[in-house]
């Protein structure tokens, strides 16, 4: 038995990201006519492609009620390594493969720490964040590297008029969405995130599932790094900073819960990533004080997490066991 009266309110929360997006479009559109143009929007999409890809990987981890704070550091290491190789004359494709490889390696380390050594996800990935950043700085010798033009060419290339980064990001999003909603693996992740004990009892291979999501997240971090490199063309010591934060923000804004068991890649996380970048884009266009940016981002993520937490409390109350059927209930 449950009290259906509060469920519609919870349903409303699902529309929050869309509503917020509409508000953002409205506000910035009114404040400046440069905002709502195709060119600007294409730029927003391209700029958000790297965040979106990393956020997609983060979504997998969040669905299982975990977190990966090291994605930015993994990006950094991969980019540094690839940069060194490129400057050393290696072919572009090899460098790109290395970036993904580094991503998988980082994911594997996290997977090991979380599943085998049973560390809490946030502390394990916090540690790998620092180790990763340190390694990245070691690889790059804390100096900015200007990469060969082949990287930037990736970023500006177009297929059928659509920039290449969007194709790549789109492909990742499509595959991720299909995996999460149409494969046994994907559906089992939601069960695991909802109730790990019941998942075990039901016979799900929980250790393997958990390990795989961290691998996926690492690989996505590597891919995200490729997309970021393709737009920046260089690796600075600050490469990849704050990506973990933006990824979590995008996912939670898009409806993924920190507590596991819910979340969609499309429209959810993708919408969150685009929303985030739109806000920034809008702020730039209206020439807001750049020092306000971190304040605004953190306020947004704070709001998203508050809503997530409140929703969880409300759901727990709704699902509480009843002793007898009060009038008005099922």
């Amino acid at each position: 038995m449950s009290a259906p009266n509060s469920r519609p309110l919870l349903r409303l929360l699902d529309f929050a990201p869309g509503a917020l997006f509409a508000v953002v479009l409205l506000v910035f559109g009114l404040m400046s006519d440069k905002f709502l143009t195709t060119d600007n929007f294409t730029q927003i999409l391209v700029q958000s492609s790297s965040t979106a890809v990393v956020a997609v990987g983060m979504t997998f981890v969040l669905v299982t009620a975990g977190v990966d704070l090291s994605v930015g550091a993994i990006m950094f290491c991969g980019a540094g390594l690839a940069g060194k190789m490129a400057l050393g004359g290696q072919p572009l494709s090899l460098c790109l493969l290395v970036m993904i490889g580094v991503g998988l390696l980082g994911g594997a380390v996290n997977a090991l720490l979380v599943t085998r050594f049973k560390l809490a996800a946030f502390i394990a990935t916090l540690a790998t964040l620092y180790i990763g950043r340190g390694m990245g700085r070691w690889i790059t010798q804390t100096r900015a590297m200007n990469l060969p033009d082949s990287f930037l060419a990736l970023g500006s290339a177009k297929w059928s008029g659509v920039p290449l980064p969007l194709w790549i990001a789109g492909g990742v999003i499509l595959v991720a969405q299909l995996v999460l909603s149409n494969t046994p693996f994907g559906r089992q992740l939601y069960a695991l995130g909802n109730n790990p004990a019941a998942a075990n009892k039901a016979g799900l291979p929980t250790t393997r599932l958990l390990a795989e999501v961290y691998l996926i997240c690492g690989a996505c971090a590597g891919l995200g790094g490729i997309l970021a490199l393709s737009q920046l063309g260089s690796v600075s010591p600050k490469f990849g900073e704050h990506y973990e934060f933006d990824a979590i923000t995008a996912a939670v804004l898009g409806g993924t819960s920190l507590f596991g068991g819910r979340g969609k890649v499309f429209p959810g996380t993708v919408l969150g990533a685009v929303l985030l970048k739109s806000i920034f884009n809008g702020l730039v266009i209206v020439q807001a004080d750049p020092y306000l940016y971190p304040l605004i981002t953190s306020a947004i993520i704070f709001l998203a997490v508050v809503l997530d937490s409140l929703r969880r409390v409300a759901e727990a109350r709704l699902n509480a066991r009843q002793i007898y059927a009060a009038p008005g209930q099922i």
């Binding site: 939601y190 909802n194 009892k201 039901a202 002793i323």
Partner: protein
Amino acid sequence: MNSTPTHLERPTTNNEPFIVFDHIEKAFFGVKVLKGVSFGVGVGRIVGLVGENGAGKSTLMNLLGGNLQPDAGELRVNDQHYAPRHSNDARNAGIAFVHQELNLFPNLSIAENLYLTDFPRIRPAGTSGRADARRSGLPWINRRALRAQSVELLRQVGLDLSPDTLVERLPAGERQLVEIAKALGANARALILDEPTTSLSSPECERLFILATQLRDRGIAIIYISHALGDVLRLCNDLVVLRDGEMVGGGPTQDFTHDRLVSLMVGRQLNQLYPERRSPARPEPNETENVPGRKPALQVERVSQPGIVRDISFSLAAGEVLGLSGLMGAGRSELARILFGLDPCASGEIRLNGENLTGAPRRRIQRGLAFLTEDRRQEGLCLEASIADNMALVTLPSNSRSPVRFLDYTRINSAVKRMREAVKLSPKAADTQAVRTLSGGNQQKVVLGKWLLAKPKVLILDEPTRGIDVGAKSEIYRLIYQLADRGAGVLVISSELEELVGLCDRILVMRHGEISGEFRRDSFDREKILAAALHFLKK
């Protein structure tokens, strides 16, 4: 009809037993919970398993499900030795459980729950489409097959719902049917239904009965565990009655009546140790109510919380031991939590010594209320903390000096020491030892000691002797009497009727969130008390 136990080795039909319990024994911490239970469950039969809480039903089912292993005796399934160690083993043997706490994932759809571990997959072109080759194929869910197979399973249990519905939107009755459908989908040959009707409405119960009969006719062996004796008599082919870990009755249903079942469940022997009852010189608590000006220790008036408890009114006199009986799920623990302030109370009044009791548990403790919860490991103790830390927890504020609240460790330590002796805590355990290492009985003594240190005016105990040995039990009874003799009111919630009958001055019975009966000591009638718990007492 005599009440000597009969053994259901081979059911009196032609059907072969699918599941056989053969002289099963099990003990916890030296306490025997199952003392040699033997019976069989035939293919195409519904066997009703009846008994009070603590009779051994859940232990028996845990053994069947692989959560526990028997100390002696043998389980056989399909005439083969069966020794499960994990729920997967039970599943593979074709045994499916439908517990009260359903194992569904509310954030997934019905279909996904049904096929979570073996989704039908898209097979590459060219391979044959055989139904049992479900696990092979590409890692891609065949949505059409999933939907079709789910609809089929749902049809078998009589549910006409879209399989894409999220489970969180289903009421309890439908969720239960989904759980049964899940069992059918796993090709279960035996189904165990554990208290299936507690959360169901009348029409949902009817639907369940029809389904159970259909499944039985299809050859599935069913164990039906329930307190609703009327339903059991109606539905089941054979009955097994457990009491105190023994099978005290068994056979075809037509051999049993409602009254016979109740008397079998309840038994006549007193097999607990109770300290000497109060000397006649001490006035019975009932008499104090007639003394003008003497307020009852606790007064509960028309307390209601929609969906939880309804119109609860009673009073507890100082020096009285009041029992609260009823079946699991009747709302007793929930009532206790409301009285203590852990859960909200929509209407009604609670008064302690005449004054209204409101606010958080902390406030109520200061007023003199104490609450020993049902789950001592999760809510009564800090398992990793020491005995001394646990015992001192409630009374820390009174042992601290303002303004900075420095603790008077000398006072605390001596109080703990005295209380250890008073509760007769095992002297081998050091004060600094973590309570996790203690036995159940000693752990409970620590919790009780913690509350006794607070010198409460009203103490609520929820299942105070569950899972502890006989010696510790009688200790706890002695402490309860001591507390009552000092003028406190004690409310004891217990599922062991014998315990309440031996211990209390008065017993209240709850059922479905309401008080369904009240019995004074001089007219304790075990059968009537149980009957009130099962259905309303008809005058």
